[in-house]
Subunit: 216 residues, 4 copies
DNA sequence: GATGAATGAGCCTTCATTCAT
DNA sequence: GATGAATGAAGGCTCATTCAT
């Protein structure tokens, strides 16, 4: 029978389409940011006509929201991988966590997602809330968990965990921003490894339980 | 009666104008970001015609540069000058610098500028280059200068200054991002002071020249 | 009743559009010149939105080029082809070429294009270069080709072809200028035919291979 | 009496300012053409503020008219110098006239005026009429006078003087157009001398009274 | 369902012109 | 009279969105 039917000019891909559109959109949003993303380009990369986007998403904003939701779910699964417990010391555990994040996120195309969120969160509270509640909270819990355990075991000094966790994470996020925003203008090539080592060096010395140090 | 006086169509304010324009522009850039800032709106807020902007600044980019110079670079140069004059130790010096940045930038509306730049640098290479060359470089030089001096005097350990400076700054930039993107969704109120203290605590312990600490 | 039919907001005319746009553009360019032509007006005359122009032509310059190609270059190429096919003498050939140009260009609205180019070339180097490279070169090649052939066959004197070709063409261009600039103020009606005859008369006598004529 | 009356406005205009303004304006109009001339630039070259222009000329158009009037009067006086009669033959006379025009106008900055007029006449009938009546008519009379005399004396063939005069002048005008519009895009340097020689060669051969020549 | 074609609203920038001093 | 300062009206171009097929 099918031999009789004229082959349609396009194929019905209602199933696969949304996925493909989201992936193309993610790529462009990550590269360009929200405002600078042209739906023309998204469509081109997805291999469809621009109008086709509107069959699936009401407008640019809805597409953006769908992209972030979709991408963050993937990102969360990725993050979950890093959570397997190992019977190591707190220091090794923290080290492993940060290195893992470096490999899996900061040094991969995935880094586009936190970058995108940091860049656009201000304009899209929904996105910000989602990311805060689902991603950041988990990351924070991981870090504070390790810190607290390290303090209990005496490996770390008794620091203000609820505020210090950001200082632990900050250099990794800065690395992501640097890579996406300024790397191109820095004459020296970007060396994430040494950047991370410098941070860990400072961090572990800063965390280390030691005799006494007075305030500055 | 005043009703008789013909209200002039416009006022001549050559002296005050640049200031007023910069202030209006700062406000709009901070609220909307670079790309989304409409010169129409800047002009409206400054109470002038759009064309008047072009009497003082050649184009949008130049206006932005002027805003950044006025709002950030002036402060940085001031800070650099202040640095030389104080006969303090490196630790106090670094502490003072970071606290100053916290007060003057991170906790003020000015924080909108680094936020904006981080968000949109990817789309506006000229903006990114300018910020990198004019602002970041100044900040980096201040920090690395203090670190190097501290190492020379023996206050600090011999760390990898060229890579560690970002770790010193990162928590402040993260604070800015946090404030603009996620603060609203955090049940706990944002306490920059304690955040900074936690960072300084870690940092100075991490920097402190001390007996022996082995790698992790 | 026809009143019930919803009149479509626009019509889809992918086939006919380019032609229509070019015709509208030609008319406006001829009436107003290059700089003074508003794309708004071109669009209005073509019955489309301004943005529609950009579906077919990247910008004003490209639109202009397309107009010139459509209106002039096609004719020149046609003329060049015709040249090869005719078994006439060089004199008849030159005569035919100039008469053709007279009919097709000088005496038609198309004359607006050379006029416009001559008038505005100084301000739009790209326009000038395009016209020089695409139109003038073609015209020059046609003329010099005929002249050289005529000299070879002995029909014409051995003149300085590389400099004389402009003298062959000049009266035709002057005719165009006259028509567009001064015709209206000349009490005598403009008689292109006789003007051309006077030129050809002078020209062919000037070209004719003849006994001896001494210098002046 | 005049000492008592306040000096009328028009008297002030007869002083130095208008001259300077006109000269500056001439230079810019010649360089840029009418539409592309910026009053800003005219003012800058004249060393006055833009608003000052409006004290002397109601608007851009009036300034343009004044410039053309002023410049062409000077040009005509210049041209009149060449009219002194000499006891030469018609051929030498015509040769001298064209060479003189070449030197004094085509190869001098004055060429900007005919160019300007040819370019903008279509849009400014007043200018066109003025130029036609005052300049072109004189040029035509000079040329036709020489031609008629040459025919009478038997030096020239009996040609259609009333139509041929344009063919005599055309190459010179084309030279002016070429210089201003296309010279820059021609790889070969512009050689006015040879261009003129080629024209005169053709012209005098075409004019020469000679045995018999058949068909055109 | 899919898309090529079309558009309206808007933005940055320019410039002749006018006002206030 | 002279001018620095200001502006209104455009113009070229872009792009999210919608329609006709």
């Amino acid at each position: 029978m099918s031999a009789v039917l004229p082959s349609p000019r396009w194929q019905r891909r209602a199933e696969a389409r949304p996925q493909e559109l989201l992936e193309a959109a993610l790529a462009v949003f990550v590269e360009r940011g929200y405002a600078a993303t042209r739906l023309d380009e998204v469509a081109r990369r997805a291999g469809v006509a621009k109008a086709t986007l509107y069959l699936y998403y009401a407008n640019k904003l809805e597409l953006f929201k769908a992209v972030v939701r979709h991408a963050l779910i993937a990102g969360l699964d990725e993050a979950a991988l890093g959570q397997v417990e190992m019977p190591e010391g707190s220091r090794a555990r923290l080290s492993r966590l940060l290195r893992l994040f470096g490999q899996r996120v900061a040094c991969s195309p995935l880094s586009g997602i936190p970058k995108l969120v940091m860049a656009e969160a201000g304009n899209f509270p929904e996105v910000a809330r989602f990311y805060h509640d689902e991603v950041i909270r988990r990351g924070r819990d991981l870090v504070t968990g390790i810190l607290r355990r390290g303090i209990e075991t005496g490996e770390f000094r008794a620091i203000d965990v609820d505020h210090a966790w950001r200082a632990v994470i900050a250099p990794l996020l800065l690395a992501i921003i640097w890579k996406h925003s300024f790397q191109a203008f820095d004459p020296e090539p970007w060396d994430f490894e040494r950047h991370l080592e410098a941070h860990l060096d400072l961090l572990f010395n800063g965390l280390a339980a030691a005799p006494d140090k007075t305030e500055g």
